[in-house]
Symmetry: D2
Subunit: 364 residues, 4 copies
């Protein structure tokens, strides 16, 4: 389904980095959900570049909700949010139009679109499209929060420096909501930021790992084949540019465990069924088991670096040197964090709607 994702609740994404408007259509959302534009703006702010560790292209992100919201509430019909591109310098890209930037989609896009693709600033492939995605995700989070479902993502590691893990989940998620640079241990955050600055100073970039926790999701959500929570979440997460790995619970570390260690034993706690450990990340057989959902995404280092690189001119099929100019992020892991939250929120709304109906999200 390409640029549309989801079943009962779906999103459709459109736009290009230097086009007139970028936007998203969120469909299937229940009527009567209060839409707090300040909340959306705050989520967008978390995606915006930060000083020296980000690109110089700072977009004001003046979003407009042009349909599906009336008198402050969702109407139940498709919500379209538009964001104009205001700060574009397309000339930066003209001279390198047919030079494949290593790590970027340029050459793959050329193979697919035959030279008709909008090459300016990455076109449709640009991380810029995550801005409308965040507006849709913010609306989804507004609805989930009313249901007691909370999502938080932190930078588990970046530039080789690791944050502490989740401890008190509710409190950690709460703390992350207000942080521009999403680490649990803020002293670590300072170190990561200076490591990013260091890489930027060297004309290079860094990657990282984002770790996400979801609390409050009822047990019984997800499908065995093929719409497992893991399957649908990963499908959406891998759409976020630069994500190259997704793991749930213990993930790749489970490969080296024994069953006796990896199995999460069950217990009864205050009348509720819980597990002692949570190596399965709150998901068994593709279905939520009532424990927090836990997953991690590997974010590759931003491909746009200022160091000279070897590449090809794919039109003339000949080797070239490439020196990228323009404005670029030396790291996107801190900006991607709210995108991960957004995508997660949209997927969970859809999965909940499948089981409980689209009306479910407005019930109190």
């Amino acid at each position: 389904m390409k640029n549309t994702f989801g079943n009962s609740i779906s999103i459709t994404l459109f736009g290009e980095s230097h086009g007139e408007e970028i936007g998203v259509v969120l469909d299937g959302f229940a009527p009567g959900i209060e839409v707090d534009e300040a909340y959306i703006a705050q989520k967008l702010a978390l995606r915006r570049p930060i000083g020296k560790i980000s690109t110089g292209r700072v977009e004001p992100d003046h979003f407009r909700i042009v349909s599906g919201v009336f008198e402050g509430h969702t109407t139940g019909t498709p919500i379209c949010v538009l964001i104009p591109n205001e700060n574009v310098r397309s000339r930066d890209y003209e001279s390198t139009r047919f030079l494949a930037r290593p790590g970027h989609a340029d050459y793959a896009a050329f193979c697919k679109y035959g030279g008709y693709e909008d090459y300016r600033g990455g076109g449709h492939f640009s991380g810029r499209l995550t801005a409308p995605l965040v507006t849709a995700g913010a609306i989804a989070q507004l609805a989930l929060e009313k249901k007691g479902i909370r999502i938080g993502t932190h930078i588990a590691r970046c530039a080789g420096i690791a944050d502490r893990g989740f401890e008190n989940m509710e409190r950690d998620i709460e703390a992350l909501a207000g942080r521009a640079f999403a680490v649990l241990d803020e002293s670590i955050g300072v170190k990561i930021q200076s490591a990013i600055e260091q890489a930027a100073a060297e004309g290079d970039s860094v990657g990282g790992v984002l770790e996400t926790a979801v609390t409050g999701l009822p047990a019984g959500v997800g499908e065995p084949w093929f719409d497992s929570l893991e399957g649908v979440l990963s499908h959406a997460l891998f759409s976020i540019p630069a994500i190259k790995g997704v793991e749930f619970g213990g993930g790749f570390a489970m490969a080296d465990m024994r069953g006796s260690e990896a199995n999460d034993s069950f217990a009864v706690q205050n009348g509720a069924i819980v597990t002692g450990t949570n190596h399965n990340g709150g998901i068994n057989g593709g279905i939520s088991n009532g424990m927090p959902i836990l997953f991690r995404c590997a974010v590759k280092p931003t491909p746009s670096i200022y160091k000279e690189q070897d590449t090809v001119d794919f039109l003339r099929r000949q080797e070239e040197k490439l020196q990228i100019s323009g404005r670029h992020d030396p790291a996107i892991v801190h900006r991607a964090r709210v995108v991960v939250d957004s995508v997660t929120a949209i997927v969970l709304c859809d999965m909940l709607a499948l089981r409980y109906g689209t009306d479910y999200l407005r019930e109190v």
Copy 2:
């Protein structure tokens, strides 16, 4: 879409571990593709238990193609393959019906299905359902091979022991096709098998990592949002029981690289555009770039172990000790390998059909 997956080409899976028949419907497949039942049987054989390192439940897997194949060729209409369950011992499960086996879907399924689920042998959640999946995957592989697209998966590590990586990809994939225990270095295979036997002897189980390579896929296949090759493949792969992580190319290791290292520089080789390294696993911006597709799946240790475990009776909501009896696999990583190949083949057929049409697969 739950038990149906895919767009232009789709699969629908049904059945339970101890039900009368399990099966799959493969729809959208081009007419005129020769269906070699011996080839399908051979793929099924790769999934079958091996001596001491597998369960004692050995199923003959007498598959029957009951529709969509006529006079030895696909007709273009839905192909249904049925496999009867012949070797079932349902009584093994009766006494523990409401005891949640740690690491298994029992409790999550109960939350979802309210006690109506078929609990015998894992019911619909059983790895048994990967048998029909393999028959569909074998048909998909038959079509892909005619197009020069080859898929190979090896046990990259198991029980903490690592196989060598892919070297000469074509030759390695060829070699794997004929191996019952899919390692590239057969001396490593011997060590892994005895480590599995050791774990089995201790009433325990082990996990591992499967690594897959695909050669011959044309550049330009996949979508930027949301049906990236990574997104759709991971969606399907996470449906395979026990898979808890999926990474493409460098995957999680890329998180600690710098951009200058992670970026795959482009070059021209014999007139073709290639990359020097393949950290992106043959995928940029969600789209194939002509290099081999490379990914790895983390397989958790089989949750069924003979050691006593702490758990709960979820009907009475009280804590219990669980001693699993019955017949179980101390490792499934070697059996899962052909399932990964199958799922990959089905996804690639669908992605190719989207771009080139359902007729594409029969063209020569």
Copy 3:
């Protein structure tokens, strides 16, 4: 999506007229719904040929539910129902393999499938596939009836003879449930049957119109764009072989009305909002308004007739005379009626599940 239809609840159909088994997978159905096999058998019986007015191929329709039902109830996982083809005479079709039977799909199928299609008895195009469709529809009707939603279809006209219209809807639907030949006025039924016999005697066939009413559907079901009740129902109804027209409420007759006549004025009756007339067939803007859903399907005369016809050999592209032999229905309108009910029931379950969740159907 071809042979799979539906979103929250879907059906997948497979098989050929002379294949080993035909079947259906019904997915997304709530767990805990009692499955009454006698009820299913009774619905299948309504589809079976009747004496002189039907084909001589009488199939016992020994259906087997091979998955998704356990201890008499749905499990919530896909329900597969298989029906073997037992009474086949494939030789009837060999000599005419490349002769396009007028009004049949033979030539169109050849254009699509390139000669690989199973030509015997119409293959995958055969009305025979409506048998599994009826089993799925019966399960859907079982669930709907528990919710107070009832569906009834009568032969509004056949061979040019008209039945009376619906009067007391609840009572009429009740009466139809038990009738092998579905007319509201049984004296008309006698006349229609003898008109069919007459056509059969002349080696010819007749068509008709089926009219369907649904009572008890809550207001608010359906979508404005594009999944209107009319849109989704018509999509499914046109899949039934021989249906060439679908109209809701006043349908084509509304084209000649004035707005003042066609508009259904609203009133309050016993506290409920109702309309005086029901020219809109219970649907406004694609959404149910609480009045009975009303629609009609045009069924073309069965294309298999014994009279000699002009046609072509599409392999050799030359004109030929065709004399159809074999066993054929001089009318199918009376057999199609339960298929219309079935398709309607499946669509309504899906539309209800979208709004209220898949769990809705099991709630009491």
Copy 4:
């Protein structure tokens, strides 16, 4: 999928009658198709109100293509077209907010959306949304015309007056393309227009029947179950407001034919396989047979009339009289005609893409 329709190629519709912008996203379209904005504007003009026989709300329809088109060609990524609402008089609707306009969706919408729906001018249900639909349809028609596939719709009857039927199809379609009032016999057009004026003068409205022909569609397009050409086309057509019936070829008239009359006999003409009659409307078994596709849509009379009507206040659940004010169409059949063409074009592009791939539309 609600407001998204289509598989390989899909459209997503959003907006409300009095909202800021209405729009459409067309996804899956091949890159490299020239987008002629004048052609789109011309199609939009065919939808615009005409003098006395239409509403006084004349919108300039200043459409903007904000994504997916670059340097005059499609890029292959989603095309978003926006149209602002400029001529709105929302106050007309305030006083009657809870009065159900007979024949309109007001009450059904209230049942579905619980009072959160945007009631102004019909909100999301408004025929106004067909404007973006026409822009998407125009792009689809541009692509189809390059492939030699042409679509034409005429007013087969309106206000009880019948146009002549199609004769020379190619020439008739050509003639219709340039006509603001789409009749084949222009003297009939004059009569119909004065009949509409007459109804308008009486504060009433009229309906009609639209007949559509498609030439040049290759044989072999469509699916037996469930995505028959009839099924998918009708699904899309019933989304157009006011359409209450769809019939293919002979349609309802076939119900009274005998098989010997209804069957279209085959012949060879200049080496091509053709049928003598075309009662099946170019479709057998859900698949195109190479003959022109022919169908008719019943358009009910516009529900907004100035005559006083009986209705209810659905908030207070009490009976009221309703006198509609505002600006309304006494007939929409002539404006709906280009919407039918549009929807048809989009569906055919999708069906062609399924079989031949999304790349097909740009090949020459």
